[in-house]
């Protein structure tokens, strides 16, 4: 029996089109609206922060791969994605070396010490963000007030809506909700454009690149915990805000400000460090959303979204144990 030389392997013999590289490209595509919003409101300073962080992360990855014996997987663009995400959660007013150091920390401290993509326990971007925040708090609070492109204004450091809320609950009345949703508010480069982030996040959910449970859980957890915070806050009563509609205003404020949207759609569902089981992912999301508001309301920090993700990342292995019922598994049956 003679025949041509044939390839033999296990099934399936046909594979889907999604690769790690294409997945990361789609993540970047989903981030594009947020980046454009950031560029529109924070101009060249904002863009340069993002570009510096991205370039730094990419270069660090290339160097790390050369120095260590880790396999060279620079082409999967993971470093670019991480650098991009880091740049988007930095304030526009930071000195040039902050994103550079951040990029190095993301790759070395967040990703490579654990063995690269697939092995790190926590979101590398947030590891770097925390390291920067703890080391240089004065720079990391250099948030610019938005200056729409072409309006010719000067960039000036100002306080963010969340800082204002922390100081005085009355600032709820100051901000126009619509401005907060479109991103016309002081904040990090890519984290203010909530609508842009939602658009990108929906794309990721539709393409099934992130489980829907995490963003939905995060937003739901944020709304629920905001209501708890609002109902237990006597200062709101003094301001004359009473009833569900008024308390929901607090929830909308929390949803639209700070890092919640980029967290819900991009940082929390980061594949490696988030749970994969349906109920685990939902609980993870609820935990992120709830913890965000807890820190914002009662904690020492201004924004809790990023800390919430890091905290919940440590719970991922436990949350992954909440498995769905296996079809075909007879209760009490032997293997």
């Amino acid at each position: 029996m003679s025949s041509p030389l044939l390839t033999v392997s296990t099934s399936p013999h046909r594979l889907g089109r999604t690769t790690i590289r294409s997945m990361h490209l789609e993540f970047m595509l989903a981030l594009a609206p947020a980046l454009l919003t950031g560029f529109y409101y924070f101009g060249l300073p904002g863009l340069s922060v993002v570009l510096l962080a991205t370039a730094s992360a990419l270069l660090t990855e290339i160097v790390t791969v050369r120095v260590t014996s880790l396999p060279n997987r620079v082409a999967d663009l993971h470093a670019v994605l991480l650098g991009l995400l880091l740049g988007l959660i930095l304030p526009a007013g930071v000195p040039w070396w902050i994103p550079v150091v951040g990029g190095v920390l993301t790759i070395v401290l967040g990703k490579m010490v654990f063995g690269g993509l697939g092995n790190y326990p926590m979101n590398p971007v947030l590891v770097a963000w925390v390291a920067l925040s703890l080391s240089w708090p004065e720079h990391m609070n250099a948030y610019f007030a938005p200056v729409p492109l072409g309006s010719g204004g000067e960039f000036a450091v100002t306080e963010t809506p969340l800082m204002a809320l922390k100081n005085d609950i009355g600032s709820l009345e100051i901000y126009e909700l619509w401005d907060l949703w479109v991103g016309n508010a002081p904040g990090a480069v890519g984290a203010t454009g909530s609508l842009a982030l939602i658009a990108g996040g929906l794309y990721l959910i539709i393409r099934r690149l992130i489980p829907w449970q995490i963003p939905v859980g995060a937003l739901l957890g944020c709304v629920l915990m905001s209501l708890v915070a609002a109902y237990t806050d006597s200062r709101l009563l003094e301001m004359g805000m009473e009833g569900l509609a008024a308390n929901l205003k607090v929830a909308w404020f929390h949803l639209a400000t700070g890092g919640l949207m980029i967290t819900a759609f991009f940082l929390a569902p980061e594949p490696v460090s988030s749970p994969v089981t349906p109920w685990g992912a939902l609980l993870f999301g609820l935990g992120v959303g709830g913890m965000t508001v807890i820190v914002r309301t009662w904690g020492a920090w201004v924004d809790g979204a990023f800390y919430a993700v890091l905290l919940l990342n440590t719970l991922t292995p436990i949350l992954d144990r909440i498995r769905p019922k296996v079809i075909g598994k007879v209760i009490g049956g032997a293997v």
């Binding site: 025949s3 013999h13 994969v276």
Partner: protein
């Protein structure tokens, strides 16, 4: 189909529609493995050099779970030697040189009269019909299929893993599902059989299957958009139910999941079968073969199968059993491009074979040819924990975790995490962005666990 189901699995590209099967001329030389199903191997009843006629018994066994191997051509037995069967395992194989005469062997024993009246079949004794099926050597037309007479009989004894309450129960068969769906497109033998549907054979075959299995309810599971008026009329006359389903939604045309979708009954895995929950699922091809066997009173010597993939003219054929795959590929216009894979079965669950001379057997549903440029490579990239496999797994496993456990040789832990409930459909590997060989890990893990348990 529930909403959760709709989001699970994958949508495969739709292959070209198949016309009725084309007859393939009998080849010069045919190869007949002495086991063409799950079960016992037959004993050879002929010697090398012996003259055989069509329908002559070449191999049979006293075991219940075996189907006789009958000669599909007349000619001379050239050799009996070990050859790889479609699953790659060595099986004693009878090689026959075809003399092209197609002379029927004188029937051994009594001659069975043809049965062609559905009313008569509906009243016939089930054992009588079952004996005919057994004599015709019919096997369920599916990979790892059981001999048909075994598949139609209720389990001989209740199985230990089903003692949910501690009381052994055998559930009587009450539903017969005729599956005109193909689980692994574009290899679609049932679609081809549906295109050239012989309603007389179908009527008789389904009536006989219903009579033998004792099912009160008959359900025809058809691909969406393939319901013809004549078929509907026949179904209404015989009180068969018709259900339609998308064929490209993989793997929901697999028997266990089909039974769950149609009847809501959960087939126990890993060793359970639909008949454990009172359902018999037969492919349309098999139902038609039963009808043909009863009408003609002759054994079944042919098989409808599909040749798809990188061939010039993907189509369905009806060929003698034992025809080498290479002949079928040649008849389909030959393979296109550089030789890559020859897959017995479909691209998702088929077996990549190393030998193009492997014969078409009673289990064969089709052949998928893949050119070298379409052969996809797996990678040993670490799992990136993206969770796409979890979202798609049709049986709700956590494939990511299982693959990691099997990769790092923690097989018992994998077994604890329900490794054995995996149906090896390959959806997780299909969607994996890291291109991990998921099914390979699972099979490896299963075999390791079984080997260790055998040692103990």
């Amino acid at each position: 189909m529930s909403i959760a189901t709709w989001f699970k699995g994958v949508r495969l590209p739709r292959g070209a529609a198949f016309g009725p099967p084309t007859p393939l001329p009998p080849p010069q030389r045919i190869y007949l493995p002495l086991r063409q199903h799950r079960g016992a191997v037959c004993q050879a009843k002929v010697e090398p050099g012996q003259q055989v006629g069509m329908g002559q018994v070449l191999g049979s066994s006293d075991e219940f779970d075996s189907a006789a191997v009958l000669s599909p051509v007349s000619g001379t037995v050239e050799a009996i030697r070990n050859c790889a069967d479609p699953a790659g395992q060595p099986v004693p194989t009878i090689v026959i040189a075809n003399d092209g005469q197609d002379i029927w062997a004188s029937p051994e024993g009594e001659v069975r009269p043809p049965l062609s009246d559905p009313a008569e079949v509906a009243k016939a004794r089930p054992t009588r019909l079952l004996r005919r099926i057994r004599e015709a050597g019919l096997v369920r037309a599916a990979s790892q299929g059981l001999p048909l007479h075994v598949d139609l009989s209720p389990p001989m004894a209740p199985r230990s893993y089903l003692f949910m309450t501690g009381i052994p129960v055998v559930r009587p068969t009450d539903t017969l599902v005729i599956r005109a769906l193909d689980h692994d497109p574009p290899v679609c033998p049932n679609q081809a059989a549906l295109a050239g549907l012989n309603l007389t054979e179908l009527d008789l075959g389904v009536t006989a299957l219903k009579r033998i299995s004792g099912a009160a309810r008959v359900i025809l599971a058809l691909p969406a958009g393939a319901v013809s008026g004549e078929l509907t009329a026949l179904a209404r006359l015989r009180e068969w139910e018709i259900r339609t389903q998308s064929q490209t939604h993989f793997p929901y045309c697999l028997d266990n999941l089909l039974v769950l979708g149609i009847t809501g009954r959960e087939v126990p895995t890993p060793y359970g079968e639909p008949r454990d929950v009172g359902v018999v699922v037969e492919p349309l091809v098999t139902a038609l073969e039963v009808g043909r066997v009863l009408i003609s009173a002759k054994p079944n010597l042919e098989r409808v199968f599909a040749v798809a993939g990188d061939v010039a003219k993907p189509q369905a054929f009806v060929a003698r059993l034992g025809t080498p795959i290479a002949e079928a590929i040649k008849a389909a216009g030959g393979a296109v491009g550089e030789a890559g894979k020859i897959i017995v079965g479909g691209p998702m669950m088929g077996f990549a074979h190393f030998d193009a001379q492997t014969p078409i057997t009673k289990e064969t549903e089709g052949v998928f040819v893949q050119a070298a440029e379409h052969v996809r490579r797996y990678d040993d990239h670490p799992c990136i924990h993206c969770g796409r496999c979890v979202a798609c797994c049709p049986v709700n496993l956590v494939p990511a975790e299982l693959s990691k456990l099997c990769e790092f040789q923690r097989f018992e832990e994998a077994a604890e995490a329900d490794l054995f409930h995996c149906i090896e459909c390959g959806v997780c590997a299909y969607v994996c962005p890291a291109r991990r060989p998921m099914v390979h890990y699972f099979r490896h893990g299963k075999s390791e666990v079984l080997a260790r348990r055998m040692e103990q």
